[in-house]
Amino acid sequence: MSLNLEFVFSVLVFPGFIFILLFTMFCDWVERKIEARMQNRIGPTYTGPAGILQPLADFLKLLTKEDIVPFDARNIVFRFAPILSFSIFVFTFLFLPIDGTNAILNLNFEGDLILVLTLVSIANFFLFLSGWSSTNPYSAIGATRVLTQLLGYDIPLFLLALAPAFLAKNLSIATIASSQNVPFSILIPWAFALFIIALQAELEKDPFDVPHAETEIVGGYETEYTGRRLAFLKLAKDVQIVLGAALVVELFLGGPYGPVFFGLPTFWYALWFVLKLLAVIVISEYLTCVFARLRIDQVLVASWKVLLPLSILSLVATVAVGLWLIPMWG
């Protein structure tokens, strides 16, 4: 693989860095609009048509703000955790096929599903470190909550991600996506539903948004952050949400593949990918709106006593489907 212009374009522009960034902001706007409409509000309206530029304006505003580092938090972790977390999330995104191939020109290999899931956990760990290094009690409690929640939900998430891999008989995300003639969400709906719930916890959204429960611990792990670092911390969270939704699309909704009507397949694939992803975001926002926040002990009970056994059961059921039912249909 030589470093040619096409490669640079695909990493930096489409479907790489700039696309991911703009798409993240677009999704943020969609989320805010949906949540507002569900709650009888109107949401952003001022910046750009229907407020579509609001996330960008918020990001730019934070970039111009004063960057304060608390005296006790003058350490390398506090400074670099937001940037590292953000860049790992974006890097992980490059492995997902968006327009049929992924950004690093089909650098997909057997087992990149495991790599992606691991990178997501590592990036989450950096979110924990960002709070832990702030030496603020709110941040400290928020950070321990991130970690407790991560421990509770990573295992079910991994188990549930194995179900599509088993059906596709492959651990490469691109192969899993392309092997879905019928989307796996229809073949194994139980795994799909559980994956969405586990993801909701992974993304710290209601009913599992305990790490930044503002009425209890103010900003959670991001309490001490300001300016540029806060901008990147928030952006990292947004990229994480889109990344999580993208994983659902790749694993359960047939990835970017869909009918090509005319012209370039790349265009249609990207379009299908975006539409499917927005559908996932709508589901996730709906869940956010109709639930109250659980308590951290209730979250842990839900993860260890309910979700983990259920995801093991779901794996067993998936194996049953894969071994007996699908061969029977031919």
């Binding site: 009888n40 509000r41 409690i141 009913p207 429960a213 503002e214 009425t215 109250a292 951290i296 002990d297």
Partner: protein
């Protein structure tokens, strides 16, 4: 009329004998006993013994020149019996009654702050309403206190909020915090996620309204006391006006009584819906907040139709109310209330069935009936713990003696029960308003009263949305009151927060706190 009260006087004189210096009445149905400064505790103990539901309603201090008078207003059998005692100003020491009534804790600290009375044996004699850098020997409610902007004095170091060497983390909620809409401070000592110790501190919005009321005429005071709390402003105005009317010895016309009932119930719906929405926000259920507060607008519109103002109504005045309700507005208001009632039954279904909401509020912040009585809580907090207490029934004022209504009581004593009390009361208030609109008497809606009020004193109680609101007004025969004492419901309830938060989860602090329906602009005054 005043049989129960005189029974108390008889009982007291029988048990205490010669210690009683004087027995009399504040107003026809409010009896008081004057005792020696050393005997007040015995007198209160006798009253507590006679009624297990008795509690301290308020503690009023009055500056009499050479001495300071302390009035312990004991709530018993639905009425108030006052035990008064005097201490010399120079040597103001009395025994604390916190060991027999733990709920007297904050009352005594407030009087200590404002009058400089030293309560011997108080468990936590710290500043409560005055700021820590207020001069040591300046007691603002003493008549001889010269209030100039005081020089700031050095005070101790502020509580530090950091990870200590030991396991406990000191977390400070407030004075500015997303869970609190008003400034107050709670220092929590937490071990992991468990709260070990709570130390409340109020007074961040202390405006000295009781002092300001002494410098204004009775008419001006109506508008002043309304501004103690925006949400239940009509309750404050009504309570103050009732006290002044009692001193004047007048009764307001029946139409005014009904119109007062109307605005008081509108206040209650407004306040309760505000709280229920806020409770949703505190447990991370923002959709509920937005829906509740949207529907609350109905009430604001009705208040505007009735009084001309959306929030501060300026509706109740001494001698009646200031505006009449035009008859063509009645069907409009009834239609609006009918749609609100439908929505409320949906919310009640939601609170009864939503699993996440129940997980966050059931068995959270439990206050047993016994503790509720011990801590002298009032209003929905008491009713959520199974204490049957409602001034509207116990001592009917305005038109409540003629209006049929039920008291909502839950025995669980948790946050959920308290919120359900609020929900039920909104429906009941809508019924009351409908009854009032149907049976509105004709006739005049206010009578003219003299500006000069004869010397005398009176106490008045109103069931505000948050519970029993208590006023004591003393007149010296001029157009200016001698003393106006306000004891707001939250002031009585806030001590119970310490009790229910300790031993609980950090995540439960907002959920149990909000169910007490705290209002700190009321509490600080």
């Amino acid at each position: 009329m005043a049989n129960i009260e005189h029974e108390f006087a008889l009982l007291l004189s029988k048990k205490l004998g010669g210690k009683i210096l004087q027995t009399g009445t504040l107003q026809p149905d409010k009896v008081f006993v004057r005792v020696d400064a050393k005997a007040h505790k015995d007198a209160i103990a006798v009253l507590l013994e006679a009624d297990e539901n008795a509690g301290l309603s308020a503690l009023t201090g009055v500056d009499l020149g050479k001495t300071l008078e302390l009035m312990y207003h004991i709530r018993t059998h639905g009425t108030i019996v006052t035990v008064r005692t005097e201490v010399p100003k120079e040597d103001a020491n009395v025994k604390s009654i916190t060991d027999i009534i733990p709920g007297a804790n904050f009352h005594e600290r407030e009087v200590a702050d404002l009058f400089g009375v030293n309560f011997e044996g108080h468990p936590n004699p710290k500043r409560l309403v005055l700021s820590d850098d207020w001069p040591k020997n300046l007691f603002p409610l003493r008549k001889d206190a010269e209030i100039v902007i005081p020089n700031r004095v050095e005070n101790g170091k502020a509580d530090e909020q950091r990870l200590d060497g030991d396991k406990l983390v000191n977390i400070i909620i407030g004075p500015q915090h997303p869970a609190l809409i008003e400034p107050e401070k709670f220092s929590l000592k937490v071990d992991g996620e468990i709260v070990k110790e709570v130390e409340p501190r109020i007074g961040y919005v202390h405006r000295g309204i009781e002092k300001a009321a002494e410098k204004r005429t009775y008419l001006q005071d109506i508008y002043l006391v309304e501004r103690i709390c925006g949400i239940c402003n009509a309750c404050h105005a009504t309570c103050f006006c009732q006290a002044v009317e009692a001193i004047l010895g007048i009764t307001v016309p029946p139409r005014a009584k009904y119109l007062r009932t109307l605005i008081l119930e509108l206040n209650r719906i407004h306040s309760h819906m505000l709280l229920l929405g806020h409770a949703g926000f505190e447990v991370g259920y923002e959709t509920l907040l937005h829906y509740m507060w949207r529907d609350r607008e109905t009430v604001m519109d009705i208040v505007e139709r009735l009084t001309g103002n959306r929030v501060i109504a300026s509706f109740v005045t001494v001698g009646g109310v200031r505006r009449d309700l035009p008859s063509e507005a009645i069907p409009e208001i009834k239609a609006q209330l009918a749609s609100l009632k439908e929505k409320m039954s949906f919310y009640k279904h939601l609170f009864e069935s939503d699993p996440t909401l129940k997980m966050r509020t059931k068995n959270v912040g439990v206050l047993s009936k016994q503790d509720a009585l011990k801590l002298c809580v009032v209003g929905p907090v008491a009713r959520g713990s199974g204490v049957k207490m409602d001034v509207r029934k116990d001592e009917p004022y305005a038109a409540y003696s003629e209006v049929p209504f039920n008291i909502a009581i839950y025995s669980e004593g948790d946050s959920w029960a308290r919120l359900m009390v609020h929900l039920d009361e909104v429906s009941e208030s809508i019924n009351i308003i409908n009854y009032v609109l149907d049976n509105l008497p004709s006739g005049s809606y206010r009578i003219r009263v003299p500006r000069i009020v004869p010397a005398g004193e009176a106490i008045s109680r109103v069931e505000a949305p948050r519970g029993e609101l208590f006023y004591y007004v003393k007149s010296n025969g001029t157009a200016y009151p001698e003393r106006v004492k306000v004891r707001t419901p939250t002031f009585a309830n806030i001590l119970s927060f310490v009790h229910i938060a300790e031993g609980g989860n950090i995540a439960d602090v907002p959920a149990s706190f909000v169910s007490l329906d705290p209002c700190f602009s009321c509490t600080d005054r």
